[in-house]
């Protein structure tokens, strides 16, 4: 039996986070879009994005200090794979206007057609990628 308690609690926390942002400043917590502000010209309108990113890092430090075991994972050390994946995620999320947070966490509850299609697509291609890799090994 998998631990289902942590994923559910974490999921609800993510829900609370996006509800706070939408109810507070009327913004969607789409992390790829927010991150893209870093590679754009600094502007006053983007200030909330810098603060959100700072919050992500502070929340990361907080979690890491409190429960370092959550960060106990293996990540590929195949340099080519890591670079290719990073490029695909960066380019793909901009072209598709969102990632797991914007399209998934915020778009699905809004029943936005674009987000439903995007989420189904990236999960489908993700499954395909892992499955093909499993066959090659």
């Amino acid at each position: 039996m998998e631990n289902i308690f942590n994923p559910l609690i974490g999921g609800v926390l993510i829900g609370i986070s996006s509800t706070v942002l939408l109810g507070g400043i009327g913004r969607i917590s789409g992390i790829s879009g927010i991150l893209a502000s870093v590679i754009s010209k600094p502007s006053k309108e983007s200030f909330w994005k810098y603060n959100f990113l700072l919050g992500l890092l502070l929340g990361g430090i907080f979690s890491y200090k409190l429960h370092p075991e959550l960060f106990n994972y293996d990540v590929s050390n195949n340099l080519v794979k890591v670079v290719v994946a990073g490029l695909l995620v960066g380019f793909g999320t901009r072209l598709g206007n969102g990632c797991t947070s914007g399209h998934g966490v915020c778009g699905l509850p809004r029943i936005a057609k674009r987000s439903i299609v995007a989420t189904m697509t990236f999960i489908f291609v993700g499954i395909l990628t892992v499955s093909i890799e499993g066959l090659i090994k």
Binding site: G15, L35, Y64, S76, A85, L128
Partner: protein
């Protein structure tokens, strides 16, 4: 000022949620995507928790204004076009390859793991590449 604090708090909560849920763990993400192998369904509950929570709260929010602004900034585009599907496909391929999406990439930076840092930089380069591609 209050809006900035709200953003900071929202980011903080988001990171804690990603950490507790297991979304920051690339092994778990790839386990979730390994539908035809040893499928680890637990991360489906993260999406279920977040989406059902928002499904209720977003409906409630719709009837009132945001605390710090006069209106919501929601995506205006409604069309399912080639860019959307192609972009989501490229993202899905990258996500499947190493099991990291943008949020966890940022949160995981705190471990100073070299693969994560390289992934993060490559992701920014990918975003920059898109900027020039669109020009």
């Amino acid at each position: 000022m209050r809006g900035q604090l709200i953003s900071l708090l929202s980011g903080f909560l988001f990171a804690c949620g990603l950490a507790i849920s297991g979304m920051i763990n690339p092994d778990k993400v790839r386990g979730f995507l390994d539908l035809f192998g040893e499928w680890d369904y637990s991360l489906a509950l993260v999406m279920l928790g977040a989406v059902s929570f928002n499904f209720i709260t977003f409906r409630f929010l719709k009837r009132r204004k945001p605390v710090c602004t006069d209106s919501y900034f929601l995506p205006s585009s409604k069309d399912v076009d080639r860019d959307l599907v192609l972009g989501a496909s490229l993202f899905g391929a990258g996500w499947g390859l190493v099991g990291i999406c943008p949020g966890p990439a940022i949160v995981n930076l705190v471990t100073l793991n070299s693969s994560i840092i390289i992934f993060f930089i490559a992701m920014l380069v990918g975003m920059l590449a898109h900027k020039f591609y669109k020009k």
